[in-house]
Symmetry: C2
Subunit: 185 residues, 2 copies
């Protein structure tokens, strides 16, 4: 139905395919390649990862990963940022991190790219919420506001000095303004 | 911020302006003109009004109005379909219907137009929910699914044989498929 759809395959067929750059996602039987990230997108992605990890990693509360494929609920998605509670990060017996994340993230952050379909990104956040994700953010750098989706699929649009809800247990106070200030060098 | 924005004015200034065709809305200080409706949009708008009114009007439960300006919460919006519970329809002392609807609709239906910003229409439904609207639909005729927003700003995407929630008290059973069948003559 969308311009980015290629053909209908199964999830396991999709998981056999070679990785692409930008990453491809598998949603409702369709392969959808993510847009090529641009400056603002990359800047927010790494800055937000660092903000979360500086607070949540030393205390082993949670960890943020950029562009990590998560397979659950019949879809393979690659959130811009996926945050997992420390104890939920998949590990091998050796203690090493696993390659396959077949679980939902606890906190998902998406940064809207120019020309990306808003509905499609919102759909990803709703999918996550349905399967257990506690909190989702959809950052719109053009309008400078952030849509927040809670675990109950409740949606609210925050702006300016609104305080952003974060993953519970992560001691982080951030307003919408502060997030967009991360765009300045 | 958007291509459709004209200039910043106050709500009362906006309400003094002459009506436009298509209708203009006043959202966050901006005048935003609705897109020119096309075939699918018009067909769904009138068919859905009739479906609701056939059931809800004879019993004086509720009434559906197309393109009716509703002013509340600092905005003036013109939903594609606004449904009001019978007793909430503003009346003059004479019993005639009032011209100004300065209240939220009980049930709001929006039909996405090609090129219309999904986020903007979702924002209208969230504004309605925040101020008391019980149920909102956002119909996407391209993807053939319907986003439903409840009074708690909870959002879900329905398709195919999913049964659509309607305004409580309106004895109407409709699936998503049945709504899109209204597009056929």
């Amino acid at each position: 139905m969308t311009a980015t759809a290629i053909k209908l395959i199964t999830l396991s067929e999709f998981l056999e395919l070679a990785e692409t750059k930008p990453a491809s996602e598998f949603i409702d039987g369709q392969i959808i390649q993510k847009p090529m990230p641009q400056g603002e997108h990359s800047q927010l992605q790494i800055e937000l990862c660092e903000v979360v990890n500086q607070i949540a990693k030393p205390q082993k509360i949670a960890k943020a990963f950029p562009e990590l494929r998560c397979v659950f609920g019949g879809r393979a998605i690659v959130p811009d940022i996926a945050v997992f509670r420390w104890e939920r990060i998949p590990r091998l017996d050796s203690g090493r991190i696993a390659n396959r994340f077949e679980i939902y993230p606890d906190w998902v952050i998406e940064i809207l790219s120019p020309d990306q379909r808003y509905k499609q990104v919102l759909g990803k956040l709703l999918h996550c919420a349905k399967y257990g994700t506690e909190i989702g953010w959809l950052i719109d750098t053009e309008d400078e506001n952030i849509l927040v989706v809670d675990s109950d699929c409740r949606v609210m649009e925050l702006q300016d000095s609104d305080r952003l809800p974060v993953l519970s247990g992560v001691n982080l106070e951030l307003t919408v303004q502060q997030v967009f200030r991360l765009l300045s060098l």
